[in-house]
């Protein structure tokens, strides 16, 4: 917001932070950053967390973060999965239906909310952008900042995304361990591992980090390259021939053919039905493992990294945790400086040593652009990633989590979640 002289001016009022979309293992580090920084400011009169994203504002379900202890807010840094609850809720275009927007504005006014932070991926940045535009149009003074979050690493404008480093570390570590396990017997074994990522292959590519320790997969298939089932079978056979009949392949859940049809649907339609006649009981890893078994007679195993890759906080990257925490703090500082309609971004300082700097990008750009793995980083006829990827990703998985343990188990944050009276 600017004053009459065109200078940015600090607003006095409440802060709301909300989480949206699929969680990550470090998502609450940004919540901790926003809350701890917000509670420090004398311009911020109250700090609220919305229950289940934008729905928490529409329903006036706001937690009073001032009631939480500093210790538990700090513990949020090491607690996976949206502590406030998440949501998948798409706001309509305000020109078509402004019901939700009117309601949001009503709540913003009622609680004198002047700082709004939305934590999420592409879709959440779109929501954030729409709200930002609407309040400006309505003449309501509120600074709106997007805080990025996605294991998919597909947000535009940022060097990498909060949450990606930890998921990458989990995947690389797990692939190293599976690599050792799957090769213990002196008999054939083909192991297909499935990582998340519908359109962007960053997570799948991160399995190549295991190769830094000599325990990477033999084959990696990203959704950036059309997947051909016959070629895949040939690729696996070739690896088996030169590798004592052993092969580890990592595939993205989003691999699809040259026409864009998902391989999991294609193989599902070919016959895989569950006991009720529904296609696709297992994921694409299970389907491909079954296919390879049929074609080679070898023992195979399909492994889906499932939710573990996005909630495995016990194996999180401390670099990721600290950056994600800082992203939350930077969002508050920017908003207090009068910045609005932007998303916090990471920039990599040029030079040999990895240093992360914090910048801002217009929400509109972040909302509508998807960043995929550069084609030139995908090598070996679409079956691996280059050293450029390793150089890019390796700094992001450094450092072991400082998560506290109790009883030999993680000691996650316990929030009181005191609802603000409506």
């Amino acid at each position: 917001m600017k004053d009459n002289m065109g200078n940015l001016k600090a607003l006095k009022g409440a802060l709301v932070f909300a989480q949206s979309g699929g969680p990550t293992s470090v998502i609450n580090a940004s919540a901790a950053g926003v809350f701890i920084e917000g509670l420090k400011s004398k311009n911020i009169t109250a700090v609220y967390g919305a229950a289940h994203g934008i729905k928490g504002i529409l329903n006036e379900e706001l937690y009073d973060i001032g009631k939480e202890s500093k210790k538990e807010l700090e513990a949020l840094k090491y607690t996976p999965s949206s502590a406030l609850g998440s949501v998948r809720y798409k706001l309509k275009d305000a020109d078509v239906d402004d019901t939700d927007y009117k309601r949001l504005l009503e709540v913003f006014k009622k609680y004198n909310i002047r700082y709004f932070f939305y934590n999420g991926g592409n879709d959440s940045m779109d929501t954030c952008n729409k709200i930002s535009k609407y309040v400006v149009k309505s003449g309501y003074e509120m600074n709106v900042i997007g805080v990025p979050k996605t294991i998919d690493n597909d947000l535009y404008g940022t060097d990498h995304c909060p949450g990606f480093g930890s998921a990458a570390k989990y995947i690389a570590t797990t692939v190293m361990e599976i690599n050792l396990d799957a090769k213990v017997y002196d008999t054939p074994m083909v192991c297909i591992i499935e990582a998340m990522g519908r359109n962007a292959g960053w997570l799948t590519a991160s399995s190549a980090l295991a190769g830094v320790k000599g325990l990477g997969p033999d084959l990696i298939y990203l959704p950036e390259v059309p997947f051909n089932v016959d070629k895949f079978v040939d690729d696996v056979k070739k690896v088996c021939e030169k590798n004592n009949n052993k092969c580890i392949a990592v595939v993205s859940e989003g691999i699809h053919d040259e026409n864009g049809e998902l391989i999991c649907e294609k193989l599902g339609q070919a016959g895989a039905k569950d006991s009720f006649g529904h296609a696709q009981l297992g994921g694409v890893a299970a389907q491909l493992a079954s296919l390879i078994k049929e074609k080679t007679g070898f023992k195979t195993r399909g492994i889906e990294l499932s939710l573990m890759q996005r909630c495995g906080a016990h194996a999180a990257s401390q670099t990721d945790i600290e950056e994600t925490f800082e992203a939350g703090k930077q969002a508050v500082r920017a908003a207090l400086r009068g910045v609005s309609d932007k998303m916090v971004c990471y920039a990599r300082k040029p030079g040999d040593k990895y240093v992360c700097e914090y910048t801002l990008v217009p929400l509109e750009l972040a909302a509508n652009t998807e960043k995929t793995v550069p084609k030139e980083w995908i090598i070996n006829d679409g079956t691996y990633v280059s050293d450029e990827f390793i150089e890019y990703a390796l700094p992001l998985i450094q450092g072991e989590t400082k998560m506290q343990k109790e009883d030999g188990l993680p000691r996650f944050a316990k929030l009181k979640k005191v609802l603000v009276k409506k």
Copy 2:
């Protein structure tokens, strides 16, 4: 072995250690214990590791452990999955066919092997027992000691098994994380998690440890209790009713009906076919998730903990690592004292504080008896485990692994594996 006076006598000769059956995340800690202790003794003239268990002896594929550095042998403590290679090889009854036994004896004599250690579960202890009996019958002086190893925790005579504590810690930690992740949305969600264990439910039960931190599953199904699919659906519905339509259930891969038929096969026969008409594409978790989706319309997710539960060394229990290392050392010490035909066991010292002591049990007993979860520990109409289980298992998951990291990833042992000249 005893001398003419009936006293135990120390043998002078080579030592062979071999690994057999499915690996664990700490299996090599016993290898480290045997090797480091063996290399210290002046009665042990050489220390060998057999490639792929008993097959490595039959094929004379022996690694010269004296050629390995102390640093790498120490690193074995933190390296998952049989470093020497494993095998599933069942020796015939020597009375029926003694071909393998004759060959083994030939190799034992050729290399003057006087200490033989076999690391494995029930089947491996059976192999070990057979070899022990055969060499005694043949008049060949060799001390034979079994070193237990199984995530399944089903070996007789020992309080618990090396490898179980780490798998239990992995499962409990992961269930805590999945519990948070699966409940982020304000919409129904049923999550079915599958743990290993064909006949013994120890691993599945260990998910209850997550409950110590308030993040345990709602339902737990062990193979010790017949599984009824209709009752399962009712159990899930009841949990959903009182729990905002959310439910986390953990099932053992070995759950079966009252006639002993595996649920995965039963549901598989009911229609689940892969694209080649083979039943059982996913595991039982995927099948049950699909079933619940059909019966409730809720979003469901089936998660198989797959190989990760037995190779997740990054999340291993330091208590387990140290005990497993000590089990290897104790095996060597016992053999040097002249003990043979025994398996090393853990005994829990009576008292409030957990202390593990090392004892020995005849191989024959260990080989032919399977230890399951006591029926009286299974409560809530077969859907949970009692506090007795928690008291039993909680001490076993204490302590975080001291695994070294490099590049943000595990730094596993790199053995030279120098083969002894035939």
